[in-house]
Symmetry: C2
Subunit: 151 residues, 2 copies
């Protein structure tokens, strides 16, 4: 139930991306059962290539605890991380990443390749995909369906 | 000569990291022969896991040109990018990354693996390593030598 509780919070974040036309992806960082960081995709809103949900959630968590290291924390994110974000999760020393929908085009935690198998990081996070997969994927499908309709 | 000119600017950035005890890595983003973004490693200074030179230089460039896409731009960075940064360079649609020293432990553009060969990104940057390699490596060697002495 813990996975679902925190993934629901990541979905809350994801929905915040929609008004600015950003792909709805959201993330939370959890330590000792508490949310210490939140983020949603602001690539368009901030006009910044690095403003993915995961990067912003990590930056929020680092700021909140005053450390570049998030040992013992877990990230919940609605979409499988891209290579940048999978790398950021390892850099932050997160204990684990739990994601919802798989990303067949750009997923770096199993879909296109798996950064945590194929690359010998000093720190390798654990990972688990497919948590509340349908809800997370439906959010993305709805967003892209709307985009196509409005073209 | 262009490579050396801009790598020298990346070295200027790298040296700014030393006073805060950050590993000296610096980067510049160049478009149409002009520097549009600068960054140096601020992981310790900012207490942020994502504050690598490349990420900060991309964020600076995006801010300066008001776009999440840096098409046609080239990054010069003193050290081979890690997976997070190699991913950020692809996300930003940079045309090319030129780096100085190789990173045998965490380099994701040839040393440990090559993200641009092994992963089918929608956009694959060109890359070139070993530019002013000795100068870039000497900066890092000096930093770590000092750390050992002061232990």
């Amino acid at each position: 139930m813990k996975n679902e509780k925190f993934m629901a919070e990541a979905i809350v974040e994801a929905k915040k991306a929609i008004p600015s036309g950003d792909v709805p992806v959201g993330a939370v960082v959890v330590k000792d059962e508490k949310i210490i960081g939140r983020g949603y995709n602001k690539r368009e809103k901030n006009a910044s290539a690095t403003a993915h949900a995961e990067v912003l959630a990590i930056e929020d968590a680092c700021k909140n605890i005053g450390s570049a290291r998030l040992d013992g924390a877990v990230m919940y994110v609605t979409l499988e991380p891209c290579p940048m974000c999978a790398g950021a999760i390892a850099q932050a020393r997160l204990d684990k990443v739990v994601f919802g929908a798989y990303d067949e085009k750009a997923g770096a935690v199993g879909s296109v390749f798996n950064l945590y198998y194929d690359f010998k990081f000093p720190h390798i996070p654990k990972f688990c995909g497919g948590v509340m997969e349908q809800e997370c994927a439906a959010l993305l499908d709805g967003f892209f369906e709307n985009l196509r309709r409005n073209k």
